[in-house]
């Protein structure tokens, strides 16, 4: 390749990440003996034999360092002494610990050491997290199988077959699944935390937009990006978010999209499950046992209490209710539009079985209609690439990436003096194919001739998607005025509760992905790169609407031999209903564990 006259001197040189950087360690296999994982960085070797999910790992054993308070990011003191846990961080989240680079899985940032730490990492370290490493991902978070990384593909092995770990937070998911880390940080733009969780049988949680700080998260699509958490149990997530540390309450003044303290208070006052008042007052002392983490009484019970306006989840959290008690009276919506043709039959069966099981325990199962769903995926793949094309404009070789000397290449395509484009060579070399594809897509949809037909239409669809959700949820979206809906807009399939309309629900229950984790070779051999976009069909709507969602493991009977496999069951809640979502997801996962749906058939 050649550098052209007029190209700019790069600030960071490319560090070749050959296998020499790999950290070979035998994996801790999961309890189910389903996977065997080697994990080291690989670039030149065969993808099918090496699975890289660590991008980088600190050489010293992880010890939690409690960062000092800077008085800016956290208005409240975290409880002390914090419980220690290991934390894996997706490599598009800035860290400074042990001087690990923050590569975003891109050659552009292969040697980029962030001068600052992401707020979320600081917050978790203050709560006892010890960083175990930076996890591999799809470059800049763009992908559904974590195969688009400059450091090689991530994979998991199930029954001697290399399977996709999902993406883009695939490295984080595998780290949690194998026990390398108790909790992993991912980012969820259109399902990047939930999809890997579904494929690896872990729990993946995407919070309401604006709840967890994005400061220090390298943006893919700012209006959709959220920081998500992966863990082996819902409880581990819930404890961090709505537990005594009250991550949900912390506003970050450095993130302009982080909800203000007042807005958090207002939203929380309309919801259950959050502590009374705000972190302005000291949080309650940490409870001794992790068992006693906040749980709610039965939601049905609390509906009556709600009218008194006095009770909250935490006020009664000292004794835990059984999952059955938790679920009594909770209304789950089954989105009819999610029953798509491409849905793997075994997942459809497990989904129905889970719903039946919940109904049997006293929950209400209500079919609901989200008519805009079928356009959501298209809208997502217009909006996200558009924002990405803008965000990635900074990688031009001036400050990030390298301008390299290479005389082999035909200079005509790169030489600015010959009428070429100054940064084209650098950007062409620095980005992977998927990133280039999305930059082109985004650049096109933002161009003056295509703006009206693509970007603006997509924004309209986005609004329709949000409106669909607002219509089916019993709770109002605190960010919008209540809208009037015409019953005549509803499809005939929706049953009416009464003359005012169909039943409103508390949560939506649906699969996380339409298929089981595909074989890695199938992923790599896909006919067109856009086939992978299909995997996001169930996760994208919640992202477009900024709603909280969680994927929990669900056992399915796959194939003709009815082999037990794991898929993801997704729960979606109304905006800022995260606390209740986590509590109910915990109960549902308990139920599913107790009676695996596949065996129930």
């Amino acid at each position: 390749m050649s550098a052209s006259a007029g190209l700019l001197r790069a600030q960071c040189s490319v560090r070749r990440c050959g296998s020499g950087n790999g950290i070979g360690r035998v994996a801790v296999s999961s309890s189910q003996q389903r996977r065997l994982l080697n994990h080291f960085i690989s670039r030149d070797s065969d993808l099918l034999t090496n699975f890289g999910f660590f991008v980088n790992q600190p050489t010293a054993p992880p010890t939690p360092e409690i960062p000092p308070h800077d008085g800016v990011s956290e208005p409240s003191p975290a409880p002390a002494p914090p419980k220690r846990f290991t934390l894996a961080v997706k490599d598009n989240i800035a860290t400074t610990t042990a001087s690990l680079p923050t590569t975003c899985g891109s050659a552009f940032l292969a040697a980029h050491r962030s001068p600052f730490e992401a707020t979320i990492v600081t917050q978790l370290r203050r709560r006892g997290a010890a960083l175990v490493g930076k996890m591999n991902l799809d470059e800049f978070g763009m992908g559904s199988h974590s195969v688009n990384s400059a450091f090689g593909a991530v994979a998991q092995e199930i029954s001697q077959q290399k399977r996709s770990a999902g993406g883009s937070s695939g490295g984080s998911a595998v780290a949690v699944a194998t026990g390398e880390a108790d909790v992993a940080l991912g980012t969820d733009t259109g399902g990047s935390v939930r999809l890997p969780a579904a494929y690896t049988g872990t729990v993946g949680y995407k919070p309401s937009y604006g709840m967890l700080s994005r400061h220090g998260v390298v943006p893919y699509a700012n209006s959709l990006d959220t920081v998500g958490l992966l863990a082996r149990s819902v409880r581990a997530v819930a404890e961090l978010v709505v537990g005594p540390g009250a991550l949900w309450a912390e506003h970050d003044p450095r993130d302009p999209t982080s909800l203000s303290v007042a807005a958090r208070a207002r939203c929380a006052s309309l919801r259950e499950g959050y502590q009374d008042g705000l972190p302005l007052s000291a949080p309650p002392a940490r409870e001794e046992s992790s068992q006693s983490q906040p749980q709610s009484p039965s939601l049905g019970e609390r509906y009556t209490q709600r009218h008194d306006g006095s009770s909250t989840l935490l006020a009664q959290s000292h004794e835990r209710k059984s999952p059955e008690a938790m679920l009594k009276g909770v209304r789950f919506g089954i989105p009819l539009e999610y029953n798509i043709e491409e849905l793997d039959p075994c997942i459809r069966v497990a989904w129905a079985a889970a719903a039946e099981r919940l109904q049997a325990l006293g929950a209400r199962i209500v079919p609901v209609s989200l008519p805009s769903t079928r356009h959501a995926l298209s809208a997502y793949y217009v909006i996200a690439p558009a924002e990405a094309s803008s965000n990635l404009a900074k990688y031009d070789g001036v400050r990030y990436g390298s301008v390299r000397e290479d005389t082999d290449q035909d200079s005509k395509t790169t030489d600015a003096a010959d009428g070429g484009v100054l940064y084209a060579a650098t950007r062409g070399r620095g980005f992977g194919d998927e990133v280039k594809r999305r930059i082109l897509l985004g650049s096109y949809t933002l161009s003056s001739e295509a703006m009206d037909n693509y970007f603006l239409q997509a924004q309209k669809v986005r609004r329709l998607v949000r409106r669909d959700f607002d219509r089916v949820f019993a709770l109002e979206n605190p960010l919008h005025e209540r809208e009037a809906f015409s019953l005549s807009d509803l499809p005939d399939t929706v049953a009416m509760e009464n003359k005012f309309g169909p039943t409103e629900v508390d949560f939506l229950l649906c699969p996380t992905a339409p298929t089981l984790a595909p074989l890695l070779e199938d992923v790599l051999a896909e006919r067109t790169p856009v086939d992978a976009y299909m995997n996001d069909v169930f996760t994208v709507p919640a992202s477009l609407a900024g709603l909280p969602a969680i994927s929990i493991p669900m056992t399915v009977a796959a194939g003709e031999e009815a082999v037990a496999e794991v898929a993801g069951l997704q729960l979606i809640g109304q905006f800022w209903d995260d606390a209740r979502l986590l509590a109910v997801a915990d109960a549902v996962s308990e139920i599913l564990k107790a009676a695996p749906t596949a065996e129930g058939r």
């Binding site: 190209l7 700019l8 001197r9 600030q11 094309s389 001036v398 082109l440 161009s447």
Partner: protein, 809 residues
């Protein structure tokens, strides 16, 4: 630590050999972090004092954030939306969507006004996008529901879209030059000649020495710049910095010299060999010129637009830079609301309507002086619209425009400046990120000017307006103001005819350049059309002293900026109380001030205008200082008179101007002081006004004060010790002198006699002055006043000599 970031224009050869300025990124950013941490935090009281909110209203001094937070909490408790933290959602969500909808905004405006009205004054400080944060996620881009519901076409596009992506994928190898819309600037950049670079270098951006010194200097943590604590900044008025224009410096087009010379000769011939004076060249018979102007002005703020880094001039390179300024991955913009104060003042001075809700958009193009790859600006929803400027004859408009012209302002928008590029020898460019993100306003006029001089007058007037409301740091001369002009021509006689195709001339940096470039471009277009050609919509450049604009890029090379609303930044909500407050505290605008100077101080319109314009408005401040001091010194002597004001104005303008050829030698500061302290000049003038010294002595004293030979307070003492008091001759001494002079001038005396007899109609004033002059030469000059001499001489002539002559006859 190295503070200069190296960016290079390199050939392949040089790339290999040179690694001198390459910086490891980590070290660089570490340096930035240190710098940023040493910056003082935004001083809340500073913001408050800027707004000059009465203490009583505020209760006590508090930061804007704590104010908004307090209010928010009190509202939060009741579970209702606080208007600040969350103004009626509908209003601004719809407003957010408005940029792609024509209709439906009327209702929104009403709603927004309701918000604005319902917020009392102190809270209007919380005009921040905090409101936005609430709504950020889903609502920002979403559109009006009713429209969508009726729209029938959404499903199709996705298919096309994905199909297209495959298509694009196959031709990916030559990495999409057209799709990524690179800036043609880059192309130009690559062609900069060494000559151009040398000129660029010698124009003194940052002294080469200065930069090298910085390179070697050890990193010393910077203490807070003193200027930050001030409520106003008067930077750069005494030491104008030559900043590079924010877009690329105009490069010489790649054209063979012979061709250039040929064209020059042709142009000279075509223009009739002799260049017309501009004032005689305002119209071309049969053609009508139409001009619209875009003006970029640096706002007078302490902070950058989206980071708390200080704005600065000529500070050590890269010393005021935060992570966001250099687009560090993961960093985010934090809007600095104090920026709105000068911006709104500017909008008010231009008679604009300040929009209650405005938005920031990203404008994409690649250039090394723009680290993020896009500039944050306000394309779809600017913060101010629909203004107008009145130009009077005294503003220097073309005579053809008569006494008065009104020019509409289409919009005023906030945007970021870019980094400063300094060319170094060996095709090296140095980048100083101090200027990145500094707030600018762009003022876009309507195409309503028809004469070149009027366009220049408009730019001059805008500069004067911005300076007078303290919105702008420096004028055109200092690089704080830049203009782009759009020029088109059409034949007169058919008012229904559409405007001609326009061309844009970029980066004009003086009033004269505005006028000259318009004339040249008008003539070029007319010549082209008369020859049967077609004007192409292109971007052109102009360099001082040339006779023709030159093509920079055509339509085909136009950048598609791919404007996109910034997804990290919420709307800016500006409360009506803030606008009202700023409007009330705007002070006197230049037109009113000029009227006052003319009517109450007795100045001519020319002098009044000069006084206002000189030293970017500092000269008139100096004049007021002198006048105040003079009033004090003269006490009751001056009441009810304007003579001393006129005297002071003459001296501030003319005598001060004679001291030096280089205006900067005066070291005029924005608060109205210079090398000749106002007290010193006032002391001199008070003695002159009371006729205690002569004008000649006064001028000598001025020199002495200018050279600091005597202190301002020592003026009287100096007069005393040097014996410079004006001890005027008594009348009888004058008379004696007159007698001695008249002796032997019988011929002259006869003239007076003829007048007296009525033989000649005009009084022979010249003869009188001849005699007075003779008298002055004969007597002790330092004790004589020409006026007294004249008076006595005239009396003697009338009373003694003419009568004597008559008697003799």
């Amino acid at each position: 630590m190295n503070r200069c970031v190296g960016t290079r224009l390199v050939s392949r050869r040089q790339l290999v050999s040179s690694s001198r300025i390459k910086l490891p990124q980590a070290r660089k950013t570490a340096g930035i972090t240190v710098g940023a941490h040493h910056l003082p935090r935004i001083n809340a009281t500073l913001v408050v004092s800027w707004l000059q909110v009465p203490q009583a209203t505020l209760g006590r001094r508090e930061s804007t954030t704590s104010l908004s937070r307090r209010r928010a909490c009190s509202h939060g408790g009741s579970g209702r939306f606080c208007h600040f933290l969350a103004p009626p959602k509908k209003a601004w969500t719809d407003a957010a969507a408005d940029w792609y909808h024509d209709g439906g905004s009327e209702k929104n405006e009403l709603e927004v006004e309701k918000i604005a009205r319902s917020s009392p004054l102190p809270e209007c400080l919380a005009l921040l996008p905090c409101v936005a944060q609430l709504h950020r996620n889903v609502s920002l881009w979403t559109a009006e529901v009713s429209r969508i519901c009726t729209s029938s076409d959404p499903p199709r596009f996705a298919v096309n879209n994905l199909a297209r992506s495959e298509e694009l994928d196959t031709k990916f190898d030559d990495f999409a030059p057209s799709t990524l819309a690179p800036s043609p600037n880059l192309l130009r950049m690559a062609r900069i000649s060494t000559g151009e670079l040398r000129r660029y270098l010698l124009s003194g951006q940052i002294g080469r020495q200065g930069c090298q010194r910085v390179l070697r200097a050890p990193l010393v943590p910077r203490s807070a710049p003193a200027a930050l604590g001030q409520t106003r900044r008067f930077l750069n008025t005494t030491s104008p910095s030559t900043t590079t224009p924010s877009t690329a410096p105009p490069a010489t087009p790649h054209e063979p010299l012979r061709k250039q010379l040929k064209e020059q000769a042709k142009a000279l011939k075509a223009s009739g060999k002799k260049k017309k004076k501009n004032s005689d060249n305002q119209t071309v018979p049969g053609w009508e010129l139409t001009v619209g102007i875009e003006i970029h002005a640096q706002l007078n703020t302490a902070r950058k637009l989206f980071s708390p880094a200080a704005t600065s001039f000529n500070d050590p390179p890269n010393s005021h830079v935060t992570l966001f300024d250099v687009a560090m991955p993961g960093s985010q913009p934090v809007f600095q609301p104090a920026t709105l104060v000068p911006a709104v003042r500017a909008a008010l001075a231009l008679n604009c309507t300040v929009q209650p809700v405005s938005h920031f958009d990203r404008k994409h193009y690649f250039h090394w002086d723009q680290p993020a790859g896009y500039q944050i600006t306000q394309y779809y929803e600017p913060f101010a619209r629909d203004g107008r400027i009145v130009l009077n004859a005294r503003d220097g408009i073309a005579a053809e425009d008569g006494d008065r012209v009104e020019v509409g302002i289409q919009q005023v928008q906030l945007e970021q400046d870019t980094a400063k590029t300094t060319a170094q020898p060996g095709d090296v460019q140095w980048l100083d990120f101090n200027r990145v993100g500094v707030p600018l306003i762009e003022i876009i006029t309507r195409p309503q000017m028809h004469h070149p001089a009027t366009a220049a007058a408009l730019v001059r007037k805008i500069q004067m307006l911005l300076t007078s409301v303290d919105a702008c740091v420096s004028g055109m001369e200092a690089g704080g103001l830049r203009a782009d002009v759009n020029v088109s021509v059409r034949r007169t006689g058919d008012p229904a005819q559409a405007l001609g195709t326009r061309t844009e001339i970029k980066n004009l940096s003086s009033f004269k350049a505005v006028e000259d470039a318009i004339i040249a471009e008008r003539d070029r277009q007319i010549a082209l059309l008369e020859a049967g050609g077609v004007v192409l919509g292109e971007t052109r450049g102009w360099s001082l002293g040339s006779t023709e604009t030159r093509r920079l890029r055509g339509k085909e090379g136009e950048v598609d900026y791919r404007y996109m609303p910034d997804p990290d930044l919420g709307p800016v909500v500006i409360g009506a109380p803030l606008v009202k407050h700023l409007a009330e505290s705007l002070g006197m605008l230049p037109d009113a001030e000029i009227d006052q100077l003319m009517e109450q101080h007795g100045l001519s319109s020319k002098d009044a205008l000069s006084l206002m314009l000189l030293d970017s408005g500092a000269r008139v401040q100096y004049y007021y200082n002198v006048l105040d001091e003079l009033d004090r010194l003269l006490g009751s002597c001056s009441t009810g008179e304007t003579g001393h004001a006129l005297l002071a104005a003459n001296w501030c303008l003319h005598e001060l101007g004679k001291l030096t050829d280089v205006p900067s030698d005066l070291r005029m500061t924005a608060d109205g002081e210079c090398s000749v302290p106002s007290a010193g000049l006032a002391a001199i003038l008070s003695h002159l006004y009371k006729r205690e010294i002569t004008a000649k002595v006064a001028k000598d004293l001025l020199w002495a004060v200018f050279r600091t030979e005597i202190s301002p307070s020592g003026v009287t003492r100096a007069i005393e010790s040097e014996g410079l008091w004006f001890k005027e001759l008594r009348d009888d001494e004058y008379a004696a002198l007159a007698d001695s002079v008249v002796e032997g001038e019988d011929k002259v005396l006869k003239e007076f006699a003829r007048f007296k007899e009525g033989k000649s109609r005009a009084y022979p004033h010249g003869k009188l002055m001849f005699l007075v002059g003779k008298m002055m030469r004969a007597g002790p000059e330092e004790r004589m006043d020409p006026a007294s001499a004249e008076r006595v001489m005239k009396a003697r002539l009338d009373e003694v000599y003419v009568q004597g002559l008559e008697a003799a006859q």
